[in-house]
Amino acid sequence: MKRIGVFVCWCGSNIAGTVDVEKLSEEIGKMPNVAYSCNYKYTCSEPGQEMIKDAIKEHNLNRIVVAACSPRMHEPTFRKTLAGAGLNPYLLVMANLREQCSWVHHDEEKATEKSIALVRRAVQKAEFAVPLEPTTDSVTGRAMVVGAGIAGIQAALDLADSGHEVVVVEKEPTVGGRMAQLDKTFPTLDCSICILAPKMVDVSGHPNIKLYTNAEVDKLDGYVGNFTATIRKKARSVDEEECIGCGICWEKCPNSVPNKFDMGLGDRSAIYIPFPQAVPSVPVIDRDNCRYYETGKCGICQKLCPKDAVDFEQEDTFVEEEIGAVVVATGYDLYDPTRYPEYNYDKYEDIITGLHLERIMNASGPTDGKVKRPSDGKKPEHVTFIQCVGSRDSQKGHEYCSGVCCMYTAKHATYLKEHYDIDSSVFYMDVRAFKKGYEEFYRRTTDQFEADYLRGRVSRVYGEGDKLIVKGEDSMLGEQVTLETDMVVLATAVEAKPDARKVAQTMGVSYDESFFMTEAHPKLRPVETNAAGVFLAGACQGPKDIPETVAQASGAAAKAINLISKDEIENDPLIANCDTSRCSGCLRCIPVCPYSAVTEEEVTEWNHGEEVTRTAVNVNESLCAGCGTCSAACRSGAMNLRGFSNEQILAEVEAICL
């Protein structure tokens, strides 16, 4: 018989407010294998943990049940407590009374009854718990950063500066990401590219950074500390080693297509660099719009290139990189405003998005920094901003707040007045300006730069003559209003990239209903993910502004450094193992294993005085992720999962059904 100690936590009133903890610990104390049972206000606190340690010694306990919050929250905490008391940490079992009982039920009697069943289950699982020892593995001291916008750049530089090699993979032909498209940044009105470009150059020149642009991660194999990434280098049609970025090719290219970087407001050639500060300064051929690929003729760029770097036959190539940790920083996209047909974005050229305005205001943008209407090139006298286009809209957009639009709109309104003497009106729902210096900035926008803020969501935008009519309610007035304006700027929502789901799946990271990747814990593990060794930085995890992105990127880098600086790491011992004496060699476990951790092996044994060799299986402890599919498939009961053994789960089922 085991000597099990049960500790029921009140979690203040979180549990004790709904569950009768006194009755619970009393009832559980009656179980024959429970040697000690008590309840305590905050078990995770230091005195709480000391109490457990004391009780272990005093009552000679050899299995511990903590009935508190979710094991996803505090299992690591209490394992350490057990270790501190000299018990094997895996002799702990938790019962989830908070998230899965007291927080979801109101009826005290029923909740208490359920909590008894839940703790009884934990006790019976503990009865079959055995001590486990983690194995160790070596760590590859390199990291990979996926995405090279400001998040990826920051993470890569932090990692590289710590002395580790970093592989940076960027999908676009240049690093820089969204921030490179912005004209100014709030609330300081710094020139965006001026503060970003030096970092872009650092990334390309850092001795510890290996940069792949125009490349994507196709596959990520291995496990924490020892990943292998397969990187697809997309054909650039230009030899990166040879090209010196002289620019003759893009100057002489006869084709002209809308420039995506300038939001289609200006043109670029078919062989191009996205913007003057691009890193690397190596062009790429847009094959869909290149005369050579369309007709087989032209080839002017190839003829003129002094380095013979243009290669029309270039194909995608693949490289493999060994790394110990991954930082995912794949960024965001913007909501497509044609999903609001009432705003007529696709009908009128002078209805644009905030990002269009960034390009229009930018000195190296399509209008050389002059603010002009796309339709007739006239300078607008009045601009109207519409907030929350696609944000906070469960019908046509996203339920969440995009977090950055209030401030970038204030920035736009300020800058239009300050530098161009253009008046603006802003239709808003709430102004969210809660970070350092933001409220002050917003106040200057209204007070000093006299932007008219009108509270109400715009219902419709349409044209009348060469004016645009904006129709909405000024809810402060309680009245329908119309506004004649020269240009309308839509503050479109931040949303996940269209391929975010695929990227998350490649990296083994989970994602939410909006396809933002999810962190391991919203408060306490904000840069880690459920995939060990994979960290998140920037807007791929949710809408963020630049300061927050940079902070998170440094956080992710620190976590990655923490991991890859170690010589070896402990493997979770909750993995499968095979009792070869019972293994029948049917090999059903091999095809079901998603991690290819089970391999066939020959075992030699003595049978009635004879040495015989037969087939069995072996589990690679590093590869096994502990899913237990093999043990569910095992017919002879030889394959078992440590920490979730057949005996334990059967005992749990029995206890919970009582």
Partner: protein, 191 residues
């Protein structure tokens, strides 16, 4: 000044009733005003449609049922089509009108209500609407005897006026439908 606590005590359950009968979550409304911004009739209303929702949210029953807005709503559903919180405001307006009738509140736009009554009476009588008869009855009862009189002659000349009602064979069945609905709604409406 409105004492919201007192209003809530007095009209406890009003919001829930409107929500249940309209099938709409009035609670979801975050008062953005997109409904009012697009409402073609809002210029003629005494309260903005958004404010009517607010009154329901706050259980301000008396004001929510006694205003011109609910009667001037033409059920064009522009609000519904654009609401970012997926509230079918047109359905809420219907429910408020029906509730106002149940409560016996004199409609603030009495002619609108009168027209609805006369229209339905016409249907109840013959199974279909008899436009001529309906118009005459409406003019008599509303007191606007000469309303649209100038349209009468051209309509007659252009053969746009039927002088006799188009009575259907199943008129009795239709009348029965009206009677049964009235019976059921009397019970459910608690009157």
């Amino acid at each position: 000044m409105t004492n919201l606590s007192a209003v809530k005590r007095k009209n406890q359950g009003f919001k829930e009733k409107i929500e249940a009968e309209s099938g709409q979550s009035v609670t979801s409304c975050y008062q953005c005003g997109k409904c009012t911004g697009g409402c073609p009739l809002s210029f003629a209303m005494d309260y903005a449609p958004r404010q009517i929702v607010r009154m329901v949210q706050l259980n301000m029953k008396d004001r929510a049922l006694n205003n011109s807005t609910i009667w001037l709503c033409a059920t064009c559903s522009t609000c519904t089509a654009r609401c970012p919180r997926e509230v079918d405001l047109a359905a809420v307006m219907d429910t408020l009108r029906i509730e106002a009738r149940h409560q016996g509140i004199k409609p603030k736009e009495k002619d609108v209500a009168l027209f609805h009554d006369i229209f339905l009476n016409s249907v109840k009588k013959s199974g279909r609407v008899f436009e001529m008869g309906m118009t005459v009855a409406y003019n008599m009862k509303s007191g606007n005897l000469m309303q649209d009189a100038e349209l009468g002659l051209p309509m007659f000349v252009k053969n746009k006026l039927n002088l006799t009602p188009d009575k259907i064979k199943g008129a009795k069945e239709v009348k029965k439908i009206f009677d049964k609905v009235k019976e059921i709604e009397k019970v459910e409406g608690g009157h």
